[in-house]
Assembly symmetry: C2
């Protein structure tokens, strides 16, 4: 039996962490929790939704009558700009009780005025506006903060407290744990090979095609060799680009197309609105170097495993040891390759 | 405002990763997913349960009529002893496609013959047998495998596919990502300070008491300063002990007591069977050194945040940046300190 068909581990070169792969395990019977599917028809406009155009939010502000996107400051943000004026470390003589101040901003981005739409259901011009909004907010915030996290939680099982299509931005002065890990790993690779890790990786996947889900002139979507979540993908720039502020109009347009295809394929895997957390990893800002070791990319982490109601639980072994997956990255890629690019809601009837 | 009352970060010295703490954020309204609570009365014996005494499992084996615990090989284990005979690395000249073989064993441990019991509902003598079973299985497996993960997933929302009280053991020849991280960090601390990180940590928490939930002569339960999950705790040996095989009878007995108190307090926080993943971190086995930098400990990762139905979702920012928590470790500790040591089911009526 070839290595990749029996139980094995793969290493994530971006984080340095491993994932345990048990391809045979997808055959076990499922007795565990199933998730409720909430496909009840939502209205186009919901009076009680704090994200719909014209409505008033908890803090008294009214949303404008926006046409594409609308951005506002999160009323319950995990980060606030008022930095504490304490010293850097709580107990500087100790290696056990280490605390640092954290200062930043949290924003909400409404992707569409329509309460009942999701990304794959938006037209290309609307998706273009979403990417442009990401770029504009990133560019502004990156002037003040080293780390600007642009992400979306989609679906109730991903802790999303609002069905209205929206994403978030959390920006802060420090570099987060994942960005630090990816920066360290990409820099080490660059020093060793003289080329960017994700540029080399994109080329090898393009040449091989086994794990490629979609590509156009500027973007590549693959199930990474080291994927942890069942249908995890990475969306990579093909260009020498480190962050959102560098995107030109063609790159924005082709990214809108890549987003449309990927999220449509996701929905078509189980004929449901496919939940996920997705987010962008820009190079740390304001470091004064050119960050040639970094490539702009997004991770999509969708939890569904076998159906619209059976998800992968990253618990127990995964929390205490390392990630584990039951179907191989190659199997997941072939399912995503076969999934139609026409949304299932548009093919019915 | 003191640093620890405004938004800040704390560093986990065992893994080197950070957690973002936003104490003010627990005040936001909750509109998100709620979890179903399944408190329907289970029978003491369930004919269809593969873990109940006397029943037949999928592979045809029958469970004995066991009195305390019963251990069997997982019929759908993620690891199997038949190692692939492939070379160590898939593509040894590449830093991008790294794969290793993984060989090991998975076992299931029934904690009690009674289908409808959970750890806090077991008598001390039954908990003693659970710990003894952990020790025996660890000791046997550690002769063959470097890494023996002993853990329990409790509750449907932790992906537990079986209500019958049980835990698991996954043992393998390689060292998992979390064990490697903890080993590296503890070793670096030991080299710098000449003492074990968790021994020093236990002493400081004991002296301070703010985060201590329970202690007896041999064990200490604290909400760690760097806790990520709302009611996360760490259960630490007070002795110079690195792994389960070293436990003597008094240490087993007092551990049974600590488990009883901690899991009872957990259930009493929201008057429900408190879900969690818990697991033991033993020092890596068979390394031929005395591992003085390591201390045996268990982590409890419970997901509930505000009630029996509202959990913390570690999604989006947490997956892409770092863990984030809404109530401080000190607040969580004070709630656990106040929780009764008499199980809520025994006080009603
Ligand atoms: O082995 P079980 O209980 O069927 O499965 C559960 O625990 C495993 C180990 O933590 C996880 O890999 C699974 O995702 C989870 O559903
Ligand atoms: O901000 P929301 O959507 O209310 O909250 C959600 O996303 C946040 C950022 O990923 C998480 O910290 C929360 O646990 C999750 O419920």
């Amino acid at each position: 039996m070839a290595l990749l068909e029996s139980t094995h581990r793969r290493k994530n070169p971006l984080t340095g962490r491993w994932v345990l792969v048990s391809p045979h395990r997808n055959n076990r019977p499922w007795l565990g929790a199933t998730e409720a599917v909430n496909e009840s028809a939502l209205p186009k406009h919901d009076e009680s939704c704090p994200l719909c155009p014209g409505n008033t939010r908890a803090n008294g502000d009214s949303n404008p009558d926006y046409e594409y996107t609308h951005v506002f400051s999160n009323d319950f943000g995990a980060l606030t700009p008022n930095a504490s004026d304490q010293s850097q470390s709580l107990e500087s003589d100790s290696d056990l009780f280490i605390a640092d101040e954290a200062s930043g901003e949290c924003r909400v981005i409404c992707f569409s005025p329509e309460h009942n739409k999701t990304l794959p259901e938006l037209e290309l011009d609307a998706l273009y506006e979403v990417v442009k909004t990401w770029k504009e907010n990133y560019t502004e915030l990156a002037q003040h903060y080293e780390c600007v996290h642009v992400f979306e939680n989609k679906g109730e099982i991903m802790g999303c407290s609002q069905p209205h299509p929206h994403g978030q931005i959390w920006a802060h002065s420090h570099s987060s744990t994942e960005i630090e890990a990816e920066d360290t790993q990409q820099l080490a690779y660059y020093k060793k090979h003289g080329s960017a890790m994700l540029a080399d990786y994109a080329q090898k996947e393009q040449a091989d095609q086994t794990r490629v889900v979609f590509e156009n002139a500027h973007w590549l979507v693959v199930v990474p060799f080291w994927a942890a979540w069942p249908f995890e993908t990475i969306l990579l720039t093909k260009d020498n680009i480190q962050n959102f502020s560098q995107l030109n109009d063609i790159q924005i347009n082709t990214l809108a197309q890549a987003l449309k295809v990927l999220t449509t394929k996701y929905d078509n895997v189980f004929n449901c609105s496919f939940p996920y957390s997705m987010g962008w990893h820009n190079a740390p800002a304001n470091r004064g170097s050119d960050e040639q070791h970094w490539r702009l990319h997004a991770h999509f982490y969708p939890p569904l495993l076998r159906s619209a109601t059976v998800k992968k639980h990253m618990v127990g072994y995964e929390m205490l040891a390392e990630s584990q997956r039951d179907l191989s990255a190659e199997t997941a890629a072939s399912i995503l390759q076969a999934a139609s690019t026409t949304h299932y809601k548009n093919t019915a009837g």
